[in-house]
């Protein structure tokens, strides 16, 4: 009996609703004929209708009964505070047809105080800033159309499924590259928040522009002949804001330059602020193509809030500064064999600022298969303890320079402690900049400018070791490269790749028998040329003799 009562109680509302069907209502209210609010019956919302005909005045239906969570969020929102109801945005009878977006009321919102307003408003959902977000999403959609497909190995050569800044630079350059044509890149910053939680105040810039902000990794979709789904480092798309704490560690911060020394107004910083201190450099820069075209201010390349000074940046980091504008750099360097590979180890000004001092900068990396991962300070701390001063550990005699013995000892120690394949990677970067980057048709467009033992950067070598977030460059002295086993440097084609010269023939003719082995070692791969040329000459001589005999015999 009890069970029957329970069933009756449970079914009672249905029985009650069922007594007045939608058809009954539509008999009078035929304008709602097409109305669809899910499977909801009219009397489920208009629940004060007990019988027909119903009272003239009905109470306002409550959305809360079904949409409790949204209603609760909405109650705390600015819209609720202003007295707006569900109906102001939703047409409850035709929810699919009409749903008012933010723009239907806020079309003229000025956002005057929002920096880079146009950029933000174009790509960022209103709710990212005006909602209570905890985890939003960046979606990057790239359409390569019917052009050549881009292989996954090219996009993500290290195969970690995550596009880092270097890989993004390459991808952008590839999208610009003919015959691929311009690939469309569409960036969207989507709110995944409860849409009813519109707040009175927008979130602070830090909510997005900081580590651990509401945006996590970006989801990259590449559509075209070959489609790929990958993730990308969010920092590529959302620059981090400087913090006062970080600022103290910057070059400017360390020199006790106050915020107000540069930020004298709310206006963007212009070059005159920088020239107050850097006037001699600006003297060189102001007559260059960059400056004359008015396209580049100091801060377009130099981020004064960046903890790492420009000279501490690695080659790919420097490259990423230039390619923000020079996206077609791969096309422009088609002549350079293995363009992408070169740009792993070079920065633009290695060639385009001939008067700058170039150096070979070594750093430690770990090899895992084909991947080469730079060793960060955190990795070093795990090995050498917290707050380890690597400079002191490498430079054992404390003379401020690194010699072969010191580098070798540290390298062996590192390999032993890490139990991994440690390698010394190198790049060629400018260490003393001459601020003229106008050189276009560079005369040094010959491989031996770099691929030669006489290359200028062998005169200036540094070891870069991480120290906290920064990198310290320690001068390297002496014959470091030749001292290491060939396995460490085998693929660094820059080394010892001397070209054959007349004096090499001379030296092999004059060499004493006991020095022959040493000379052959010194000649290295040049020996191939030497043997090749000698054999060619022998064959030509043989031909000459043959020709001579043929002429003599014929006579």
């Amino acid at each position: 009996m009890n069970v029957l009562v329970l069933i009756f109680v449970a079914l009672f509302p249905l029985v009650s609703y069922a007594s007045i069907s939608n058809e009954d209502c539509l008999g009078c209210h035929d304008k709602y004929k097409e109305s669809r609010h899910g499977q909801t019956a009219c009397v489920q919302c208009h629940d004060d209708i007990g019988s027909l005909p119903h009272d003239e005045k009905l109470k306002r239906p409550s959305c809360k009964a079904c949409h409790g969570k949204a209603a609760a969020e909405y109650k705390r929102s600015i819209h609720s505070e202003k007295g707006l109801s569900c109906k102001n945005c939703h047409d409850v009878h035709f929810p699919a047809k009409a749903k008012k977006g933010c723009h239907s009321c806020h079309s003229g919102a000025s956002h005057a105080s929002l920096p880079s307003g146009e950029k933000h408003l174009k790509a960022v959902d209103c709710l990212v800033c005006h909602g209570k977000s905890e985890k939003d999403e960046i979606r990057i959609h790239i359409d390569t159309g019917k052009k050549d497909p881009i292989k996954r190995e090219i996009i993500d050569p290290d195969g970690n499924q995550l596009i880092d800044r270097k890989e993004w630079n390459n991808l952008q350059a590839l999208l610009q590259k003919a015959p691929m044509g311009k690939g469309e890149i569409n960036k969207q910053f989507l709110a995944k928040t409860e849409p009813h939680s519109v707040t009175k105040k927008p979130v602070s810039c830090k909510s997005c522009h900081s580590d651990g902000g509401i945006f996590q990794q970006a989801r990259v979709t590449i559509m075209g002949k070959q489609s790929h789904e990958l993730f990308a480092d969010r920092k590529i798309f959302i620059p981090e804001l400087p913090s006062i704490e970080d600022y103290r560690h910057t070059v400017h911060g360390k020199k006790d330059i106050k915020c107000s020394d540069c930020h004298t107004s709310q206006q963007h910083i212009n070059d005159s602020v920088c020239t107050a201190c850097h006037d001699s450099i600006y003297g060189i820069y102001k007559d260059t193509v960059h400056s004359k075209k008015g396209a580049t201010r100091c801060i377009d390349c130099h981020n004064p809030h960046h903890v790492k000074a420009y000279k501490e940046l690695s080659a790919p980091e420097r490259l990423s500064v230039c390619v923000r504008c020079h996206k077609d750099y791969i096309d422009k360097h088609e002549w350079l064999p293995n363009t992408l590979l070169h740009f792993h180890y070079l920065e633009c000004s290695t060639c385009h600022s001939p008067d700058s001092t170039k150096s070979m900068v070594f750093s430690f990396a770990v090899k895992e298969g084909n991947k080469e991962m730079p060793l960060e300070y955190l990795d070093m701390e795990k090995i050498f303890g917290k707050n380890a001063e690597l400079k002191k550990l490498v430079d054992r005699n404390g003379d401020g320079t690194v010699i072969c013995k010191e580098l070798a000892a540290f390298f062996i120690e590192l390999r032993k402690r890490l139990q991994k394949e440690v390698t010394i990677s190198s790049s060629i970067v400018v260490t003393k900049a001459f601020h003229n980057y106008s050189e276009k048709d560079t005369k040094s467009r010959v491989c031996v400018t770099c691929h030669s033992e006489k290359a200028p950067f062998y005169e200036s070598m540094f070891l870069s070791v991480p120290e906290g977030e920064r990198a310290v460059h320690i001068p390297v002295k002496g014959p470091v490269l030749s001292a290491f086993p060939i396995s460490v440097f085998i693929d660094m084609c820059l080394l010892g790749e001397g070209k054959i010269h007349a004096k090499d023939f001379d030296s092999i003719l004059k060499v004493r028998r006991e020095d022959m082995h040493q000379l052959i070692d010194e000649l290295g791969f040049k020996l191939i040329d030497l043997i090749g040329i000698v054999f060619s000459l022998l064959i030509l001589s043989g031909i000459a003799v043959h020709v001579f005999l043929r002429i003599v015999v014929k006579k």
């Binding site: 590979l341 031996v448 070209k499 043997i531 090749g532």
Partner: protein, 201 residues
């Protein structure tokens, strides 16, 4: 003097196209290897020419290989038999001695076997060993990142570079002899003419 049709049209076209490709590759290769020998003023074009003519060489090699494979020419003309090995001293003697006495070439080409034993040795080693080595290493260099694992497995970039250059020198040595031997026909230009018309005297 009777004439024999030895060189079909596709092979003649291939031969001269290949000759042009080889010429460009050697010229640019020399400047790449020793930049002080300036053949072209702009080094940029030297690099680009070497790259694209390198691709052309790869294509040219494939054409040659599959043409001979399809027509059965590889076994007919290039495969060395015991008879070839035996005839080698006599053939060599002809080139270094008997030719000056006005003696006739001991080898008479036929459409079924157009190369003498020394030619077979030279052509087969160049076309089946050295050219493939040059082409394969060259293609690997065209995209080091893409072929990285192959390059590593084959000994690394510097080793492959050395192999590429060494094989190229062998090719040059062969070419010097080949060019000279082309003048050893009944007349100075007989073989060259034969490679244009298809008929050898």
């Amino acid at each position: 003097m009777s004439k024999l049709y030895l060189h079909p049209l596709p092979l003649r076209i291939w031969h001269w196209a290949n000759a042009c490709i080889v010429l460009v590759l050697i010229m640019t290769g020399i400047q790449l290897r020793v930049p002080s020998i300036q053949i072209l003023h702009d080094y940029r074009y030297v690099v680009l020419l070497h790259k694209y003519f390198g691709y052309a060489m790869a294509g040219s090699f494939l054409f040659w290989f599959f043409y001979y494979l399809a027509t059965g020419g590889l076994t007919k003309h290039y495969l060395m038999g015991l008879q070839d090995v035996k005839s080698m001293p006599q053939q060599a003697l002809y080139y270094v001695l008997h030719i000056f006495r006005g003696e006739k070439n001991p080898f008479v080409p036929t459409p079924d076997s157009k190369f003498n034993s020394l030619q077979k040795l030279a052509y087969s080693s160049v076309m089946l060993v050295f050219v493939p080595i040059i082409v394969i290493t060259g293609v690997l260099f065209s995209d080091i990142l893409f072929f990285f694992s192959w390059i590593k497995a084959l000994g690394g970039l510097r080793i492959l570079d050395a192999v590429h250059v060494a094989a190229a020198y062998v090719f040059i040595l062969y070419l010097l002899v080949h060019l000279y031997m082309a003048t050893l026909g009944p007349k100075l230009h007989s073989h060259i003419k034969g490679m244009i018309t298809g008929y050898e005297e």
